[in-house]
Point group: C2
């Protein structure tokens, strides 16, 4: 009786191992060569896994990058959901919102952070299908509600997040040479205005 | 004495005519076939102008689309700079700002408006090099100043404009099915919060 179910469990364990090995290989390639050089061929080669398995598992390169992005973002998600304040619970909602955007701005400035590097590769899919895009929005909506903001929380969350969007920040940093400190100060000011906690 | 200078003037007049004819042909193609189908070959053919002239004049397809975009946007620029209030001068700055974003939102919803259709074709260059992108920003900065907002006007302008950016609005309208009315109400709310004119 242990035979077939044991095989099945073994197969499942193999699949989990394969998945982990493929994502690890992809992460290594992103860090080592840059996300734009990551190809399905190279990932399969580095992981020592058949290309067929790679395609079956992730569909295509975008699918692989999105899976890796969600993996990479899990740590940040943990930090703003359960970590120490002001990013995590324990600080006033408006202060948490300020810390959240400032952390995003800092991450975009950090060239070793795999999150932004991957996000740049999937500009459309990141918005539409990635888990973490939706998680960011849900977090901002819940903080706006907690801060007692009366209004269309979903739209206000979109408006706030549009400013700290990867493409917006890249544009401001690269073309307009705006510093991290100035972006973070502007974010704090924006949050205070939107939540009505600015000291005007 | 009129000979050479007359020839020069004639050449210049020819160049101006050619430019107008090329932009007209491109505009016709965008309206008729959609911006994504506009090729340098087709534009030269429709305008009855050599392909060499087209490339010399605009550099490449992106250059042509950006030139056309600036042409198309001139009318809107006129409206928010010199037109009737609340979009044009004569209304309070915060009301003008509300009208400005609401007009942008309406334009994105209008499938016959060539501005957004062209803008979608040049997502990066639109931000970096188009005249109208800079003009939008300058307009918002000057209204924030006029509204008496104390803060980093440039960054606040970027933050506001990020919400009514073409890609943000397209995403919200298409993937999240957000209506024009809801987007316009959210914009008005955002402006009132940022300018401190909301009736909280």
């Amino acid at each position: 009786m242990t035979g077939p179910s044991g095989d099945l469990a073994g197969e499942r364990a193999d699949a989990v191992r394969n998945r982990a090995r493929l994502l690890e290989a992809a992460a290594w390639l992103v860090a080592e060569r840059g996300a734009e050089h990551v190809t399905m061929h190279e990932v399969a080669r580095v992981a020592g896994v058949g290309k067929g398995t790679l395609f079956r598992r992730f569909g295509d390169r975008n699918g692989l990058l999105l899976a890796l992005l969600d993996d990479v973002e899990a740590e940040f998600h943990e930090a703003y959901t359960f970590g120490p304040p002001p990013l995590g619970p324990g600080a006033p909602a408006s202060e948490r919102l300020i810390a959240f955007g400032q952390a995003l701005i800092e991450r975009v400035a950090d060239s070793t952070d795999l999150g932004p590097a991957l996000g740049r590769q999937v500009p459309t899919d990141r918005r539409q299908t990635s888990y973490y895009g939706r998680a960011f929005r849900a977090h901002v909506i819940s903080l706006l509600r907690e801060a007692g903001v009366v209004g269309d929380h979903t739209m206000l969350a979109h408006a706030l997040l549009a400013f700290v969007d990867l493409e917006t920040l890249d544009h401001l940093r690269t073309d307009d040479q705006v510093t991290t400190a100035r972006l973070q100060a502007a974010w704090a000011d924006l949050v205070r205005r939107v939540t009505g906690t600015d000291e005007r």
